[in-house]
Symmetry: C2
Subunit: 387 residues, 2 copies
């Protein structure tokens, strides 16, 4: 395997204190960099998801070589296995998984909502049973921050309550207000860590005035960054985009904005145009394990019999070995035979495409050509491959 | 990931014609090289198994970098999926799987015996139903050679009948005689390919006079290499070793000898001392997928709770990133969480150990110090790690 690393922008260096600088704007879109002791996150950034201290099917050096500046770890999964105290004893998550670059950890709230069959929510926090062994756990705002500190996270997320859409306004409102209270408690628990950041999470479902209130209240807390949560949870894309547009004017311009759990390349492109700086999603890794790839030419299902004798690589112009080094026929074979290497190669193809897309978005914004870039990107997706 | 390739012996080059040269002997053991157009196989050699055109969980460049000179492909699996004609259309197995170095293919006979629930054996060949889709297939000596030629195999194995041990003498005798008749037919079907080889397979169960007869008859056919088959199929190790000792004097000294489907590091060391040059086995890859590793210090089960907080790498002296780059605690976590990366790293550890063992055996034979090397290796296994 020949990994061809992208050259990192040499002019941006790690800094002792966490900071964010916008280098250029194009409409609502921005490109810049988050800097901190462990490195630089070029924005807009896509964060590969490393649920259980591994980006599934990838070596950390490969993830890095594709241009990923940061990965996401899941507090819920890591607190249950191997356990935050254990990870701390072993030197923290960076050492544990061999990823010395920035790590963002979620707060555990989302998985407690989505996974637990037995959970009890109070103002104090969430009590739930482990999906692994049934053991009982309590996740409060304070404990969530403590766990993320034990993991050694560079960007810590507040504990929030996330509700699936559609939902009644009063349900969204209650969750939003609880999330605000929890944000305050997380801020107190986090304290002062110049090199690291605590991000707040805007909630409010699909109700504009709730979203605005949430954004304003969080902005007043002067956190180091803000996430838009509670989206990509069942609503149509236009609702998600409307909520971003509603929230954006109320978030500080000089702070990074992270749209949680999003999404398809199309979602990302549209959210970047609306001012979002950071994304995470299991889509490229999960889709890769199921035979689906994202490419310049749109999506492709490698299970499809039409690939069985196709000697072409996925994308001969890609610098990713997985995209240019094996035939589609071979990938089809591996997928059909359920071979690990198929999942490994397709995950690699997808993460490479996502990182290439982000690099393209950053360059386009810097050049003031975001509209053109998006139009061309979309044309490529829709036209598919040249005959 | 930093792959640190072993330096290949620069003095041995690929040759237009298949040949085998013994460079040194130590007792019955030999070290040397098989040369052919696609490269050099340093012997004694361990061939990682690439059943379905992939060494499970490994990129081909990693396998190469560990020092593997040849991999094995399974005719049975490849004939069913993706199909030999399809592989041929796509440029052959080397191109298909991105392994430009030598490939040995088995004949398909073993899997037809071990896997098929519906099979019928006649002098003509084997009729069986696919374990994938139930479709009916015929494997004759001629078809087996044809398939292996379509795949582009560098070392083609004769079709044989392999019986599990223990078995009645008359069953072993019948299978041995059938295998001899099939060897003749394979030889005729293979014809003359100077750059490639057809190997015959010695059968005869655990009956010495049958083994001797099989070896003598095959030797008389003047094939380019000889395998000892029908071992590691249920018999104790001492029976296997006794059969190797029985057969060895009757096989040509100037031809490579391949012990099929073997085995543990201990099996390999003992068989090398008895004159075997080539091995293949699913053990390092399969064990790795199940949490087991082979190391200088013996076997280790990474599922074991004692590894859960062990910050040491598997073997800090190893040049393999999987063995020196992550803690045992991390590997334990990946195994418990059933993460792909756990299977990937443990497979890598095992193949690295097997290749290092072969390199050690080759060096020891060349230095006339095989007994010492084996004694030290066994001491390390038995003593385990230094405290």
């Amino acid at each position: 395997m020949t990994v061809q690393p992208q050259v990192l922008q040499p002019e941006i260096a790690a800094t002792p204190e966490f900071s964010f600088k916008v280098a250029a704007r194009d409409g609502a879109a921005r490109t810049g960099a988050i800097t901190m002791p462990r490195g630089v996150i070029r924005t807009p950034a896509f964060m590969p998801v490393g649920t259980a201290a591994t980006v599934k099917g990838m070596y950390p050096e490969q993830v890095r070589a594709l241009g990923a500046d940061v990965v996401l770890g899941n507090t819920y999964h890591l607190m249950l296995r191997p356990g935050a105290e254990r990870v701390a004893k072993l030197g923290g998550l960076h050492t544990f998984m061999n990823w010395p670059h920035p790590i963002l950890t979620d707060s555990g709230g989302f998985q407690v909502m989505s996974l637990a069959n037995l959970r009890k929510l109070t103002d104090e926090g969430v009590t739930f049973r482990s999906h692994i062994d049934g053991s009982k756990h309590m996740l409060s705002p304070e404990r969530s921050v403590e766990i993320q500190n034990l993991l050694g996270s560079d960007i810590v997320m507040q504990l929030d309550e996330c509700v699936a859409l559609p939902c009644e306004e009063k349900v969204a409102e209650k969750a939003m207000r609880l999330s605000l209270r929890w944000a305050e408690r997380c801020k107190t628990a986090f304290g002062d860590h110049p090199g690291r950041a605590l991000f707040g999470i805007v909630q409010g479902g699909d109700v504009p005035h709730l979203r605005v209130e949430s954004a304003r209240e969080l902005a007043a807390m002067d956190l180091k960054g803000y996430a838009v949560g509670g989206l990509a949870v069942g609503e149509p894309q236009d609702v998600m985009l409307a909520m971003i547009e509603t929230v954006e004017p109320h978030l500080p311009q000089e702070k990074p904005r992270y749209l949680m759990g999003v999404g398809t390349p199309d979602d990302i492109v549209k959210a970047v145009a609306r001012g979002i700086d950071m994304f995470d999603c299991v889509m490229p890794t999960r889709a890769g394990r199921h035979g689906q790839i994202f490419t310049r030419f749109g999506r492709m299902n490698l299970k499809n019999a039409k690939h069985a004798e196709d000697p072409r690589p996925v994308d001969e112009q890609s610098s990713c070995p997985a995209a240019n080094g094996w035939s589609r026929a071979y990938l089809h074979h591996l997928v059909k035979a359920e071979e690990m290497l198929g999942k490994m190669l397709l995950t690699w193809v997808n993460l490479a495409y996502y990182q290439d897309l982000m690099a393209g978005l950053r360059a386009a914004i810097a050049a003031g050509q975001l509209d053109d870039f998006i139009a061309e990107t979309r044309e490529d997706w829709e036209r598919g491959e040249p005959a």
